[in-house]
Symmetry: C2
Subunit: 547 residues, 2 copies
């Protein structure tokens, strides 16, 4: 067989030629969105590559960062930068500024391409960025914010204008770096995950498999999941492979504009985290719109509440769970129910799992004592995965050596996901907790998430977080931290009985330690920040009752 | 990213574990077909590998041949042999015996696994096979035919019985040989195409993409295309990737049994060459059956006549053209009409093309003078392709060096398909002729196939073949060889006018040389054997009229 490397430039060339009339549609907040054909994207990607090379001096595996919303220019950067041999570094604009600066410096980005609307975030960072030589600005926004900065400032459109619309993309090693993305990292410094051309190519094929997202050129995908979030789950690459139109919300991520763009552009598919959908659902309840085109919705990032899934089913939008993480490119599982349960009551149960592993992702469960656990749907262990689009290391230890911390990679090279869950005999994953949050009590594991969900089912509880605290007898025991609703009357004894009732929680798992808090601390991406609670407990900052 | 090789053993492990309840259903001609779950196939593949290694001494990249119909045991061989590191060599049971013997000797097969029903073909060959040490027989058939042969004879079921049901599959180089298949080769010796683990893995992903066959575990695929014919178009591998059930006809390839198995097992998909479907259609006309489950039919091997496509449409079976060849694994194109023509009159035109190239297959057209031709839907040239599942050489020249004949591979490594056609701007291929059959007349190309189709549209013509013959003035001119129907009255002048009428054929392309023949000579796979006609013309064996 011919030894043809799997390169992103091949995806680009294919999409822009054979699916040249497919479109990237970017919402502008005005009546008419920006429409750019794949052929134009291909031509402009070539122009951008010429500009980066000739005007900005990008060479070798230089890192070029993007601080951008989902839009056509960001897609152009997605293809131009890796295709020319450089490395696309997508910056998460939701991170705290000091973390962003740390990440840019750690990656040694030479160029930042930024949307004008994000200059208020970028400008104050620039004095702290040690490697950035050029800033390229695209789209509306106040350029005066960049007055007096050290890096040279360029207009995206001026850079690309007049450049040749084709580029002789180099034949690279398919294992060379194509893109990178830092995990937000609730503990320690952020960690860079480097995607190769090979991993992105294979991942794109997987996304396009009928058993995964299964999109074709008959589809339009509303890509709400940010391009700075694990390559928008691989959609920009996957769509160029098959001519799927992309509908890009740019900065218009509020429920109102999302409903408007669905009604106007009639996407058939959408991908986003649950909170986005919760907002959209409320919006549609208040202001009904024709969203009938949207029949398939991929939800990842965190689990979709069953009530939300049912509400979308009623609207004719079929929700499909997927699970993954920055380190898994991200497609790790997709929850398409197996043939034998379709049409039965079990179908919904299967849809609530995180999903089934595809052929490219091998999985195993490791128990509290390091033992391998069976796939029986009951044994909970830490999930470890292996595959050609799974990270084998992090970027840049000393001397740019790859980092393989022992809590992240097993001795035989599998990724330790840090997620705890069960797997059914037919390979469906259900996550029950994060490994760092699970309570190791007397050699058994107690799921903090299970306790939290059970607590939050009580009508008086607004939010609840459960963390492990040291215990002389059991090693660790759960501490329940509860946010009560206004006017709530329940006390800890009532809540404890509620947990025990109807076997919701096994008796030995019930918390003895309880405390009321004002609100649960959250990370930059809106997840419970349990390390703050653990620290507050350790510092004696919580008023704990034992019952 | 982790450096995990793309191996067939991974497809097997995935399918037999995560899709363990999916089935290979083999027709037995009796009321109950044989049903074997993917889990059982996985266990038996491991047993077969143990038997091949421990009992038969298979090691390294030894070639193990199969002379088998489509059935569960053949699927087991498909996975066991490459997974253990050996090379699966599928033998085309339709080839003339002397060619089969040549092929087995050329590949130096050490073992042949044969269906009992094929022993009448195999037994007389054995004295001519120089490398075969073992014959393994599976399924019904008269074993006495093997009495007194030199190789040791084994029963498949006895070999696998009691062997361990797991095997520690080796971590191979993904570029190592996994399987091979010889082209039937109308000119010269047959040529071996060697598939690697990588090429088969990537091809399987492509087959499963929604834009290609797009099957999931909700499907059952009736695999009529033989497993000895380019790996049954990749279906056994692709189905194990996603849990698609396989319905295998074994030796029951006649229209009656095919209709019966469709009615009983309700496949959703089927794959076969047009002649099979023509027979099935006639059968269903005579004896209607419930074939409503079958909604998607992949047709390849040669073009599907429009009338057949329409007839299947009426039955609710959506025909989808695909094009490929042994050298392309085979998936080269799939004719899913582009979004913008769906529902319009153009849709049917697009479905009649060979289809669009997927991202993994790059294509170009080379004209009569070696020039690159545009994708304008009109310029006809020889199709050349490149990609990770496209052959880069043939097997086994002197000293097992790869063979790269200049008429098959361009200097820069692309495969010359030997097919002549046009490509639309959006990448849809229409084949018009074989390069060796096209008539090179005064620097222009005349399609022999176009002339044949136009001739065969005349009611008096049963069959017609057109071949190039030398011409002093033009280099080459077409010779029309015609088989008339019984009682036909048309003469050559009438036929010539018929061709010219309504602009069917441009005037300069009309044949001057005509002859009547009894029947068109055919190759072993039923294609017109034009070299026989050319030879008969050269030897003065045809009674040619010039008009």
């Amino acid at each position: 067989m011919q030894d043809v490397p799997l390169l992103i430039s091949r995806i680009l060339s294919h999409g822009s030629a054979l699916h040249g009339t497919s479109q990237v549609i970017t919402w502008t907040g005005e009546s008419e969105p920006q429409r750019r054909s794949f052929a134009e994207i291909g031509a402009r990607a070539a122009q951008l590559a010429h500009a980066l090379r000739d005007d900005l001096g990008v060479e070798g595996d230089d890192r070029v960062a993007t601080l951008m919303w989902n839009n056509a220019e960001h897609v152009e950067a997605y293809f131009a930068i890796p295709s020319m041999g450089a490395v696309l570094h997508t910056l998460n604009l939701r991170l705290p500024p000091e973390q962003l600066a740390w990440i840019v410096n750690h990656a040694a980005d030479r160029v930042v391409i930024a949307n004008g609307s994000l200059l208020p975030l970028l400008a104050p960072l620039l004095p702290h960025l040690t490697s950035v030589e050029h800033v390229v600005v695209s789209g509306p926004g106040d350029r005066s914010l960049l007055a007096g900065v050290t890096p040279r400032v360029h207009e995206y459109e001026e850079l690309v204008a007049g450049k040749p619309t084709t580029y002789d993309w180099p034949e690279l090693d398919e294992r060379s770096a194509a893109a990178m993305c830092y995990t937000s990292g609730t503990t320690g410094d952020p960690k860079g995950v480097v995607y190769s051309h090979r991993s992105i190519y294979l991942h794109s094929m997987q996304v396009n498999m009928a058993q995964s997202m299964g999109l074709t050129d008959q589809d339009t995908s509303l890509v709400v999941v940010p391009q700075f979030h694990v390559n928008a789950w691989g959609l920009p690459h996957a769509t160029f492979m098959t001519g799927v139109n992309m509908l890009m919300p740019d900065r218009f991520l509020q429920p109102g504009p999302l409903a408007a763009m669905i009604e106007k552009e009639q996407p058939t598919h959408a991908a986003a985290v649950p909170t986005i959908w919760q907002g959209l659902l409320a919006e549609l309840g208040e202001r009904p719109r024709d969203v009938g085109s949207l029949t398939q919705v991929t939800i990842g990032g965190s689990a979709c509440p069953p009530s939300l899934m049912e509400a979308f089913d009623k609207l004719g939008m079929r929700v499909c769970h997927a699970w993954g993480m920055t380190e898994t490119s991200p497609l790790g599982t997709v929850a398409r129910p197996p043939a034998h349960v379709v049409g039965t009551e079990q179908e919904f149960e299967y849809r609530l799992t995180q999903g089934r592993f595809p052929a490219g992702v091998e999985a195993r469960l490791t128990g509290p004592g390091g033992e391998r656990l069976p796939w029986d749907g009951e044994s909970a262990g830490e999930l470890e995965v292996r595959g050609p689009w799974i990270a084998g290391a992090y970027y840049g230890g000393e001397g740019a050596q790859p980092l393989r911390p022992a809590d992240k990679f097993s001795e035989d090279g599998w990724l330790k996901t840090g997620d705890v869950g069960t797997i059914t005999p037919d390979g469906f994953l259900t996550l029950t907790d994060r490994a760092k949050d699970v309570i190791k009590s007397g050699g058994e594991w107690i799921s903090s998430v299970e306790l939290e969900n059970a607590l939050m089912a009580h009508p008086d509880v607004a939010e609840a977080a459960v963390v492990a605290v040291p215990d002389d007898k059991w090693g660790e025991r759960p501490l329940a931290t509860v946010v009560l609703k206004d006017g709530a009357t329940a006390d800890f004894a009532v809540l404890r009985s509620f947990l025990a009732d109807e076997g919701r929680i096994a008796k030995w798992q019930l918390p003895e330690r309880w405390t009321i808090i004002e609100s649960v601390p959250k990370t930059s991406v809106g997840k419970f920040d349990k390390k703050v609670l653990r620290r507050r407990y350790a510092e004696g900052d919580l008023d704990v009752t034992r019952i």
